[in-house]
């Protein structure tokens, strides 16, 4: 006799066949359209309102090897967020862009390699989390975006993150934090393409680790201007990640398990490029769940006729990004 609701609900999750799983036979484009509409509904994308972005460059600074811009935009009426872009010196013409999303950390300054709070240096130096520093070295324009609930956009002073309170206010109104973050990324792309004519609109890439990887994956499903997505330590079946271990509630999309598991959503990114990164000893996103999800993704890419456009990077450690293993794949896929 089972008295545990945890066991009961886990049984339900593992016994569901998601309604929007691609059946392998029907018209793939038609499936993508329907799946994107459903995902957008689940994320609450119809709840966010466009407005005047009030684009504002706060500073432009010449640094060693790059020019740095900090700008803000208004993505919804009354909500603004900052982004910092680094443009490598010595390049001409239109250049590729890597948008970089941190996971749960003290803020996007980690991506920039700039410690502010105690503990930041450990984050920056361990786990390749200085995404923008590496992206510039790889010849990309790097763009760090501050996500809702993190850093300057957490709504309270001090270090740490603040997802709980943010999340439930959103959820109660049919919004989701992931949906809000996806929205912000799209508005940021709007602003970048409008104001920085050296950004190549055909080579916009998006990466993130952990919570940033989650946002990367969802954003790539819906935002077709993203040519390459690189979610790290995030793509994993529910039963091996957020449904089995205690994760931040900002991962939550209500009712999603009835329609999709994580792997099912990868088909929405195809034929665009997708690099799934994970660590074999990650104890938040277990390897069996990553493998299971990636198997579904591979089939979708084969169906579309571009199996070479998806790749699984397996790092030897745990929950972190693997820059040395991943960037060569980026260059190979983007042919640069």
């Amino acid at each position: 006799m089972n008295f545990s609701p945890l066991i009961k609900n886990f049984d339900l999750i593992t016994s569901i066949t998601p309604e929007c799983r691609y059946d392998g036979e029907s018209d793939f484009i038609a499936w993508q359209k329907k799946a994107k509409a459903k995902l957008a509904e689940l994320l609450g994308m119809d709840k966010y309102e466009r407005c005047d972005p009030e684009f504002n460059i706060e500073y432009t600074e010449e640094c060693e090897g790059y020019t740095e811009y900090r700008f803000t935009i208004q993505s919804e009426p009354g909500y603004y967020f900052p982004s910092v872009m680094r443009v490598p010196h010595g390049k001409s013409g239109k250049q590729p862009l890597m948008i970089c999303l941190q996971g749960h950390s003290n803020g996007f300054h980690i991506s920039l390699g700039k410690p502010i709070y105690p503990g930041d240096e450990d984050d920056i130096n361990g786990g390749d989390r200085d995404f923008c520093v590496r992206a510039v070295k790889e010849g990309y324009i790097a763009l760090a975006v501050e996500q809702r609930g993190f850093g300057e956009c957490k709504g309270i002073e001090g270090s740490g993150t603040n997802c709980y309170q943010n999340n439930f206010r959103a959820i109660m109104m049919g919004r989701t934090m992931i949906g809000e973050r996806v929205w912000d990324i799209s508005r940021c792309i709007d602003a970048v393409l409008e104001h920085f004519d050296f950004v190549d609109p055909d080579r916009i890439c998006l990466m993130g680790n952990s919570g940033g990887g989650t946002a990367t994956y969802y954003a790539a499903c819906l935002e077709e201007r993203i040519a390459l997505a690189m979610p790290s330590c995030a793509v994993c079946s529910w039963d091996n990640s957020i449904a089995v271990k205690r994760h931040c509630l900002c991962n939550l999309v209500p009712n999603i398990a009835n329609y999709f598991d994580m792997g099912d959503m990868g088909g929405m990114i195809a034929p665009r490029k997708l690099i799934v990164v994970h660590g074999v000893t990650d104890v938040g996103f277990y390897k069996p769940g990553v493998d299971k999800s990636y198997a579904i993704i591979e089939k979708a890419y084969e169906k579309v006729g571009v199996p070479e456009n998806c790749y699984l990077v397996t790092g030897p450690e745990g929950h972190r990004f693997y820059a040395d293993l991943s960037w060569p794949v980026v260059h190979k896929m983007m042919k640069d």
């Binding site: 009961k8 919804e76 943010n166 439930f168 206010r169 049919g174 449904a243």
Partner: protein, 329 residues
């Protein structure tokens, strides 16, 4: 320039007109039907499937002034829980029954022996009710010990495992609070089917704090409940769970698009409703309670039952007020 999503979402919430608020023009009973269906959907109860209850008497004990029967039922396939029925000795005929909810800050033992108003079952028995304690999901016996992680254990004064269970429920389109309402309903089914000394026209539900919230939602959904005392658990969303970080089990996705807390009072009307609060409550603050009750009063008037709702505000701590029992007679 606002960088706070908390502030942004608070503004959205304040400016959201709940889509299913009663407009005071349409037929009230027709509105109740639509609104109740929507609430059931939002709670995820429409996803839950009844099963063979497998009613089992676990134990029968004679205590000094009452008899205690513990029974278990399956409310869903592969989920069971116990309920404890206590009936006062020396009373003949059919008994009114008080469903007494306990949880985050109290437990089954305190429901008879507790202090500071926690002894809801004893209060019910002293007033001639049978009491029914329903073991709620993620409290006490209804979770697995391993659900509590080592880092959580030292900080917990009582066992509650709401976080992960709620996360799983949400992913499935369910809610913990909906699951609890479902279990209350199934326990009531079992009670009425197996104990012929219970008056099925005299069922009340009481709870304090988060259990006050659960009592309120249960009464909104289950029309067999004739009266409810919801203590320190009802206030406008903006003043309470959307402002402070309450336990995850309080939350219902998308509810604020359709209702605020006061609107649900209309689903309870014309049945008796007593809301209890205190000026010292920071979790369900007085201003939010009064605002919710202002809507409830209007709804009860629309139902032609203005005398059936009451608001009691004390100046003490956040405890159940035993005087509220008098107001549901």
């Amino acid at each position: 320039m606002n960088f706070s999503p908390i502030k942004k979402n608070r503004e959205v919430l304040i400016n959201t007109a709940p889509a299913m608020r009663y407009d005071f023009k349409m037929d009230f009973t027709a509105w109740q039907k639509q609104a109740r269906e929507k609430l059931v959907e939002l709670l995820g109860i429409d996803m839950m499937i009844p099963t063979e209850p497998s009613f089992t008497i676990v134990s029968k004990t004679s205590i000094e002034t009452y008899d205690e029967t513990v029974y278990s039922i399956a409310s869903e396939k592969n989920y069971s829980f116990t309920s404890t029925l206590r009936t006062p000795k020396g009373v003949s005929g059919k008994l009114p029954v008080a469903i007494c909810l306990f949880g985050h800050a109290d437990d089954l033992l305190q429901s008879v022996d507790g202090t500071d108003g926690r002894d809801l079952c004893k209060q019910a028995l002293d007033r001639g009710y049978a009491s029914l304690s329903v073991e709620q999901r993620s409290f006490d016996n209804c979770f697995a010990v391993r659900d509590i992680t080592p880092e959580e254990a030292p900080t917990r004064t009582t066992w509650c495992a709401c976080y992960r269970s709620s996360m799983r429920a949400f992913l499935l389109g369910r809610t913990t609070i909906g699951e609890r309402v479902w279990d209350i309903m199934r326990s009531l089914d079992a009670l009425l089917a197996n104990f012929d000394n219970i008056d099925d026209e005299n069922i009340v539900i009481v709870g304090n704090n988060g259990n006050g919230t659960a009592a309120y939602y249960a009464a909104a959904v289950d029309e067999r409940i004739g009266a409810v005392i919801a203590s320190n658990g009802v206030a406008t969303y903006e003043s309470s769970i959307a402002t402070f970080s309450h336990c995850v089990c309080n939350y219902i996705p998308n509810v604020a698009s359709y209702f605020d807390m006061g609107d649900f009072g209309g689903l309870i009307a014309p049945r008796k409703l007593v809301l209890v609060g205190t000026i010292k409550d920071n979790w369900f603050p007085e201003r939010g309670l009064r605002a919710a009750y202002a809507m409830i009063e209007k709804l009860y008037a629309a139902a032609g039952a203005s005398d059936n709702s009451k608001l009691v505000i004390n100046d003490g701590e956040r405890r159940f007020d035993p005087h509220a029992w008098e107001l549901i007679k």
